[in-house]
């Protein structure tokens, strides 16, 4: 009899335990939902402000692992983020604007000055002779004097007006050397965490975000489409 009682007590305790844990889990879910709702409201409010006019804007959906170029709430282009690292806590409230694009070698426009020696560039749109058949060919056959996507850098950084510094690069362009990896590990995992303690002060503790993309064309396209002053939101 006492064994039965003990077994019953154990069963009751287990059931009660399950019940309590379920209640706690439900509470956590509700908490998560309320956080998500708060985030959604803030993101939509910020986007609505940007979508009111006809200007393009971006959405850095870091949690959703994507960057989007939009206009009036419509997604024009979307790039999947393959990897990311983050340091610091910037102020994300509302919208941000791109203050500066920085790269080691910025693409340069070709300048044509007719009549001068240096202006002897191939004009890509040169007309064929009248009646001459146009032969379709692959784009690789023409080395054009033009500023194209492939001329854009595969690695660059974006500085926003809220102080956020974003480095964008492609995984394929990664330097695999040991020295480069050590330097990278030192910077991200030692220098940055130590900088508030032993660094030169707050200047070194700016928030940083590193975004990595699978295809090199993705950073190049982002460089192409993100012009100085473009506004956006960071989620």
């Amino acid at each position: 009899m006492s064994r039965k009682k003990a077994a019953g007590a154990v069963l009751a305790a287990v059931v009660a335990g399950f019940g309590l844990s379920s209640l706690a889990a439900a509470g956590r879910v509700a908490e998560v939902d309320r956080s998500a709702l708060a985030r959604k409201q803030e993101a939509l409010t910020a986007e609505y402000g940007l979508a009111k006019d006809a200007n393009f804007y971006f959405v850095f959906d870091v949690e959703g692992r994507k960057i989007e170029l939009r206009v009036k709430g419509m997604v024009l282009r979307s790039w999947h983020i393959a990897g990311m690292r983050f340091w610091g806590r910037p102020d994300f409230a509302g919208t941000v604007a791109l203050a500066r694009k920085t790269t080691l070698k910025a693409p340069e426009r070709i300048i044509i000055k007719p009549g001068q020696e240096e202006s002897l560039v191939k004009v890509p749109a040169a007309k064929p002779a009248a009646g001459q058949a146009v032969t379709p060919a692959t784009s690789a056959d023409y080395d054009l004097e033009a500023l194209e996507l492939r001329d854009m850098p595969g690695k660059f950084s974006l500085d926003f007006d809220n102080g956020l510094h974003v480095t964008i690069r492609a995984r394929s362009g990664e330097a695999p050397g040991l020295a480069a990896r050590l330097k990278d590990a030192w910077r991200w995992y030692v220098a940055m965490p130590l900088s508030p303690v032993v660094g030169k002060g707050r200047a070194k503790t700016r928030p940083e975000l590193e975004l990595v993309f699978e295809d090199e064309k993705d950073p190049q396209a982002i460089y192409w489409h993100f012009f100085d002053g473009i506004k956006g939101i960071i989620l």
Binding site: L76, K127, A146, Y189
Partner: protein
Amino acid sequence: MVIKRLLLAAAALAALGFLAVFGASYFIGLKAASAWPVRIPPIAEKDVAKVEKNVQQIEKRLAGMLPKGLYIVIDTAANRLYLKNGEQVLREAVVSCGSGVVLEEPGGKKRSWVFDTPRGEFSVKNKITNPYWVKPDWAFIEEGEKIPRGMEDRIEAGTLGDYALGFGQGFFIHGTLYTRLLGRNVTHGCVRVGDEDLKFVFKSVSVGTKIYIY
């Protein structure tokens, strides 16, 4: 001997201290670098219904901003044109957009032109069948020719293909003789489209159709 031991102990302590700081910073850095900060506090239970209603209203307003009916989207980097209706892509065409080249006029006037396709929201201003190209000054300067005085010397037939859609400031979506260059950035700012795609787009859209160029 004692001094030597003391020095050794001090060195060992310094090394341990360095390792501790190094390890701690590595741990902190690893943690911080892999977690996106959660910054917005959850809304209060009593405000949930109100916020949900607000979210629905904003979503509705945003959806109302989307272009109605057919519209054209042009990606200047990928040299692609999309004819869309809502989310549906009715036609995708390989096109040629602006080369980004700068042309500088020699001599006294020193004018310059940047051959970019303009970006932003536009609309179809006019639809022209069998368009003529009225060559602007830069077309003559680029070819090293003298700029003519009479309008008749500026008119060129056939260059723009069978159709043209004007979207303002002298820019057109038009045909091309140089189909082998479709997919490349070669134009002076206009958008060149292949014959079949151009015919489809031209027949589909009307004056006022929105054009988004990015």
